[in-house]
Symmetry: C2
Subunit: 347 residues, 2 copies
């Protein structure tokens, strides 16, 4: 009885009790979860109008992957078009160092972003989110910060596995820093784009090239080898991604036979000595919460300047919802980004 | 079909889809969760040797509360004794302004803490954790930072509900700042102690008294009125507290009839204009994760200097485990505390 009491309510130490049943694999009962108490009414309404989709099977061959890619990206294109209309952001396509990019310009360029470009690497589980779909986050940041953004439409699997995406980002970066101070710009991206933001920076370091002055790693996938805890603990609470089925398939497809613990594939395995200041954003219902906080701690272990912002009740990438809808939490996230970039690249 | 596709894998926007089934109350299936991938082997071993206790009924009257208090606190006293032995920390009791306190002294006082005291307010769901049990976190910080700590053994329910605890902390503070610069010290506490750290600071502000130079709010309970999301989403994953049963009873007992949204009872309802720099620590399996990140955002909304540190796989207050066991994540948390206090109170 004492053992159980020590386990309950005394909010620090219940350890060293050696109770027989291993906690290692714990079974959680079915439960019903209401809308989070701590979110805006705008976000509550968004949450209440969506469902958790069923997992999709992993495509069996290149042709099936290409078909799925087209299917997946179709609705994202609609989102991009709506967001362009809503924000007044414009873009043009340009090849930079042989890589396809979008040059994204806000309606009003803020004084601190006159004459410079931020670099965006889109998400989409490495395989999806290319072409015009990539523009979603670029539009969100361009409009929110008044910044000009180069969004890299990097080569993707199934035709171009790792390291094509990282190589493309490095090529664009090398070209950009011919005319712009690397210290005065940032690279950013969400999910797989957060991964590629970190991986590209690691690659620049490896090559001895100048690194950016700051990074924004939005709820990044940093461990493609192990299944971080929140993929499992929050399963069923995040309508925006799922690891079962397609996602694990995309990770393997992206790696293309390279070991998944290669630090340029899973940045959590990188040895960090120095690294640019990095802002992380995620949510308590985001399946990549664990990946995010693990990478945050990994950088803090090397004393890197970081900021961590976690939004209650948000699922994967929900902070970006103001791309289409009014949402105070989105404005708040943009405010944190603005502050962070002003501190580290716009001084 | 398109709607479902938009909901899957494209890691940003699946909103505005108005699918019929309300997400408001979502049912999550039973699932089995292994040890988190992102924790140290030391912490993995701690996790694997504990179980989730069954909820206890709410005591029916004062006498039953007092009995439960004694039962609960007994094992905590053992922890304190072991921790004193392990750390070489010593303490004496002293009444300050009529309030019982412990003066806690580390084996070696660090230069930056010579001649000053940090202020500790213990946790334990407002009702438990008093007397020698209070010393646990005070020992952890005293030993970890080399700091002298005044730990307040505040009056507790069932005999002394709100605002006795806050009043006691204010009394000690008023006495302390007669001989020590308020800017050069910090108040800290975990769980209910995190709540009281925030509430005491709000009360000081209300009284026009000088505020501390920094706060450490460890995984604080900030919303006693609404059930924050992680109490529900992480239920079954945190062996260290649970809201069902006793805890909700302690909240009501502590409030003693005052509305639970009184900002001195639930600091999330405070209007914040300025506030001391605050460091928050919590974990991804901590039932108070949502409370923690909600308060972090609430302070950030007023542009308060803050630090947020979230440890993967940690349940309620797990960061403090080095009180009894070697655990790298604990050393890391102490390192963050040291850095934060050095920046804001030891300059």
């Amino acid at each position: 009885m004492k053992k159980k009491l020590l386990n309950t309510l005394i909010p620090t130490l219940s350890i060293g009790l050696s109770i027989s049943t291993a906690f290692a694999s714990i079974t959680i009962d079915e439960r019903t979860i209401p809308t989070p108490a701590g979110v805006s009414s705008e976000f509550a309404q968004i949450i209440e109008n969506r469902t958790i989709p069923a997992p999709l099977p992993v495509p069996a061959n290149t042709e099936e992957w290409l078909t799925l890619q087209t299917q997946f990206d179709a609705p994202g294109i609609e989102v991009t078009h709506k967001a362009l209309e809503r924000s007044g952001v414009t873009y043009e396509t340009k090849q930079i160092a042989g890589v396809d990019t979008f040059l994204v310009t806000p309606k009003n360029i803020a004084p601190e972003y006159k004459g410079k470009w931020l670099v965006h690497i889109h998400g989409g589980a490495f395989v999806f989110g290319g072409g015009e779909v990539a523009l979603r986050e670029a539009i969100w940041v361009a409009d929110g910060l008044g910044a000009q953004v180069i969004s890299i439409d990097y080569r993707q699997p199934p035709l171009h596995p790792f390291p094509a995406a990282v190589d493309d980002a490095v090529s664009v970066w090398k070209e950009l820093i011919k005319t712009q101070s690397p210290d005065a710009t940032a690279i950013f991206g969400t999910s797989a784009g957060g991964n590629l933001t970190l991986a590209t920076t690691l690659k620049l370091q490896e090559l001895g090239l100048p690194m950016p002055g700051a990074l924004f790693a939005g709820t990044p996938a940093v461990d493609l080898k192990e299944t971080s805890d929140s993929w499992l603990t929050l399963q069923g609470l995040d309508p925006l991604i799922q690891r079962e089925g397609t996602i694990q398939g995309t990770f393997d497809l992206y790696a293309g036979g390279e070991p998944l613990d290669n630090p340029l594939i899973s940045p959590i395995y990188a040895e960090i000595e120095e690294f640019p200041p990095t802002i992380f954003i995620s949510g308590t219902r985001d399946l990549l919460l664990s990946d995010t906080v693990r990478m945050h701690r990994h950088l803090r272990g090397a004393n890197v300047d970081t900021d961590l912002h976690i939004y209650d009740g948000q699922s994967h990438g929900d902070y970006m919802n103001s791309l289409l809808f009014d949402m105070p939490e989105s404005d708040d996230a943009l405010n944190e980004l603005r502050n962070f970039f002003n501190k580290y690249i716009n001084y």
